[in-house]
């Protein structure tokens, strides 16, 4: 016996340094990868920062389909809203 005589420094290194290193590696893996891949993922209750997008199916790859939302909306004159006849369209509304 007596083979495992550690100095204070070695004890601290083994029992504090190694666990801290493991924690740091796992933390980096989890949050580093998450920030890179799914940074804009929607989570209910958290602010949603992704840019607005408007999709049509791919076969309608006409120029107007690829234009972004902002361009399409600003292209409409201010009075356009008044010409929308409410009630001609149907559908549903819901919230969560």
């Amino acid at each position: 016996m007596g083979a495992f005589e550690l100095t204070i420094t070695e004890t601290v290194l083994v029992f504090v340094g190694i666990p801290l290193a493991v924690v740091a590696i796992i933390y980096g893996l989890v949050y580093g990868l998450a920030a890179r891949s799914g940074g804009k993922r929607y989570r209910p209750g958290r602010p949603y920062t992704a840019a607005p997008v408007w999709y049509l199916a791919n076969k309608h790859s006409a120029p107007e389909a690829h234009e972004s939302h902002a361009r399409e909306v600003t292209a409409v004159p201010e009075g356009e809203l008044a010409t929308v006849h409410y009630g001609e369209t149907g559908g549903a509304s819901d919230s969560w």
Partner: protein, 133 residues
């Protein structure tokens, strides 16, 4: 509303959205099958809606190429609002009650944070309700 400052940057704009590439492919697939099977035009908007929400969604819908034959699904994750707008002809194929049913299943998924899954499921439901053209 920062998207689309440059007309040629359509690709990056799309990738700035909330979806990963596999999700985008699934959504595109869902939109395409819905369009092909029904003959209607399905469109999906994800982003903030100006107030009044319903009016703004109808305005977006009216900007589509053929609004009468079009269905717009507008999702606003920040406002936690979903609007489904069906045009005059599309409404005959998809009654409001069916739209509401699709909206319910979509918001159930959205509430769990699954935007893409809810959208794909909702589009499939709307398309199956509309039937074949």
């Amino acid at each position: 509303m920062t998207a689309g400052d440059h007309a040629t940057s359509a690709r990056p704009d799309v990738l700035e959205g909330p979806f990963t590439t596999p999700q985008l492919l699934r959504i595109d697939e869902a939109l395409r099958t819905a369009d092909d099977s029904t003959g209607l035009t399905f469109s999906l908007y994800v982003g903030d809606l100006e107030l009044p929400v319903r009016g703004y969604a109808e305005k977006l819908h009216s900007q589509l190429a053929a609004p009468d034959q079009s269905v717009l699904v507008a999702v606003s994750p920040n406002q936690r609002v979903l609007e489904i707008v069906t045009g005059h002809d599309a409404r005959r194929r998809i009654p409001d009650r069916s739209s509401k049913l699709a909206a319910l299943s979509m918001t159930a998924a959205f509430g769990g944070g699954d935007l893409a899954g809810g959208i794909v499921a909702g589009l499939a439901q709307l398309a199956s309700q509309a039937g074949r053209s």
